[in-house]
């Protein structure tokens, strides 16, 4: 069963740069996820100032804007998709993630299963 771990960075400075992470912790976690054989995919996202939003209006007009910028303190900083037997296992991996500490949090979302 696949779960998406959405990693919300806690402390972010004025430029949307995550200030709370220690690179070594992330490397160690990433290695654990891969060594355990549960890793499906995962990426760390570039700083929020580099984000661009696209919407298409009802008349087909494309609207491109800079941002979004953090209005809450939590900013999506990266994600993992892991394949584990059940929610308890997914919650354990989320709890071990460095992004869950401090002001950060990890949202666990099961990937929809269409019976394939």
């Amino acid at each position: 069963m696949k779960y998406l771990l959405l990693i919300n960075a806690g402390a972010v400075d004025g430029n949307g740069v995550n200030t709370g992470c220690v690179v070594e912790d992330w490397m160690a976690y990433d290695k654990e996820v891969r060594d355990a054989g549960v890793f499906v995919s995962g990426e760390s996202l570039a700083d929020l100032v580099t984000a661009t939003t696209v919407r298409v209006e009802s008349d087909g007009q494309r609207v491109v804007t800079d941002g979004p910028f953090a209005e809450t303190r939590e900013v999506l900083g990266g994600f993992y998709v892991i394949d584990v037997p059940d929610l308890d296992a997914a919650l354990d991996w989320a709890a071990r993630c460095p992004g869950a500490r401090g002001d950060g949090s990890v949202v666990v979302r099961p990937v929809a299963d269409f019976g394939g």
Partner: protein, 437 residues
């Protein structure tokens, strides 16, 4: 009941009772067996919907058969055999579902040790895993008691809705949503390992206690207590106690509920009005229940640091053992509230502690403590806080302030008997000379 090791008890092999069985005793058997049946099916097939469907069909089959042929010697085994056959039929009809279930089962086995194989006619007690699923931290707190009533106490959705005083459609939606989350997010059916237990057991106990408190002090409505609900909670706690005999907090929760419930008959007057502890006829307390509770308090407080339910039970025990309010051991009660406050940090505990201090040192001392809690957000609309404040001001002779405080308490909803009591108190202040009650 415990299924023995004898051979397969198929529905058609059950020995018929000579004159059939009255429908009421059939219903009584279901109440006892339904939770067990459901848990055993969930453990075996790993799917709550399938287990519920099969359990219902087995119960229906029993309703047809038992009144005619009599309750079989091992009703649980009969139900399990019937339910298993229904599952197998269903899976034969729906190969895609069967394939999906096989994958689920393989993954579940990969996740944890495979249970010892059970004989087909055996109905093992797997209810503990269902308790933990119903109280899983990923489910909304307010739904956990409802799920426990639904799946472990065997209540229908309509009965659960009545228990929590919400419309049936609302409760049906909540239960459906929770079941969807259990199924789709795959909340596992498992008993947490020993190292996870300290984190997970409080959730289970809280779910059972929430059923009890809803029965003990209904949050709204015409009646003050709903005894059936409190008794259902006690029944569930007794099951937990059997399944987790080494957990002292389970004993503590059992003890707390027994020691409080022992006062049920004295708590309401002839017209359904609320009778407070001070005015209760202690001769109407249930001595046998108190004795049982006292035995469990000793278990809860022996052999390690006390837990919150054990300490609350000890407080209830001191009340139950006292001949009247005046001779109650208030210093000891205050000391226990100190322990409870350290364990929970709860402002609600602080309110109760302040009331105990008032009994030990006088209403003025209690009032000061209550006033210091005025800034707590959690207490802003908490009726017992408003009532306690009003009562202490009243006893301290600060009548104008007391009247304001009673009006404030009346602004916060409550059951009709509670409101009547507050109005009577308010009348006493506003028309001195009128005897209270």
């Amino acid at each position: 009941m415990d299924a023995g090791a004898a051979g397969d008890v198929a529905p058609d092999e059950a020995s018929p009772a000579p004159h059939g069985t009255p429908i009421e005793s059939v219903a009584a058997v279901f109440r006892e067996e339904r939770g067990r049946l459901l848990a055993a099916l969930v453990r075996r097939f790993g799917d709550l919907d399938l287990a519920e469907e099969a359990a219902s069909e087995a119960v229906e089959a029993a309703l047809m058969s038992w009144p005619v042929h009599g309750v079989p010697p091992r009703p649980g085994a009969w139900l399990m055999t019937t339910a298993r056959r229904r599952v197998i039929d269903r899976l034969r009809r729906d190969q895609a579902y069967a394939a999906r279930l096989a994958i689920l089962q393989a993954e579940a086995d990969r996740a944890g040790p495979v249970a010892a194989p059970q004989a087909d006619d055996d109905l093992p007690d797997e209810r503990l895993l269902l308790f933990f699923t119903c109280a899983h931290p990923a489910l909304p707190t307010e739904d956990r008691g409802a799920l426990t009533l639904r799946f472990l106490a065997g209540l229908t959705t309509a009965e659960v809705a009545r228990a929590f005083l919400v419309p049936v459609e609302t409760m049906a939606k909540r239960i459906t949503r929770a079941k969807k989350k259990i199924g789709e997010a795959r909340i596992p059916f498992r008993v947490p390992a020993a190292d996870e237990l300290p984190q997970r057991l409080p959730g289970v106990l809280q779910a059972v206690y929430s059923i009890f408190t809803e029965g003990y002090a209904a949050s709204a409505g015409p009646r003050l207590q709903r005894i059936d609900l409190a008794e259902e909670a006690i029944r569930l706690a007794r099951i937990l106690r059997r399944l987790l005999p080494a957990e002292r907090e389970v004993a503590g929760l059992c003890a707390l509920m027994l020691l409080v419930h022992a006062r049920r008959d004295a708590r309401t007057g002839p017209d359904g009005e609320l009778v407070l502890l001070d005015d209760q006829d202690r001769g109407r307390w249930d001595r046998a229940m108190i004795e049982e509770g006292l035995g469990l308090v000793r278990v809860a407080l022996t052999g390690g640091p006390p837990g919150r339910y054990g300490v609350q039970a000890a407080i209830a025990a001191l009340h139950d053992e006292a001949a009247d309010v005046a001779t109650t051991d208030w210093p000891q009660i205050v000391a226990l509230y100190d322990v409870l406050l350290a364990l929970t940090g709860s402002p609600i505990v602080a309110v109760n502690r302040a009331v105990a201090v008032a009994m030990r040192d006088g209403p003025q001392a209690g009032s000061v403590l209550l006033d210091a809690l005025a800034g707590e957000a959690l207490l802003r609309d908490y009726r017992p806080y408003a009532v306690a404040r009003a009562d202490l001001l009243h006893r301290a002779g600060r009548h104008a302030e007391a009247a304001d405080a009673y009006r404030r308490a009346l602004d916060l909803a409550g059951t009709a008997p509670e409101r009547d009591l507050l109005r009577r108190r308010l009348d006493t202040i506003e028309q001195p000379g009128t005897p209270e009650g």
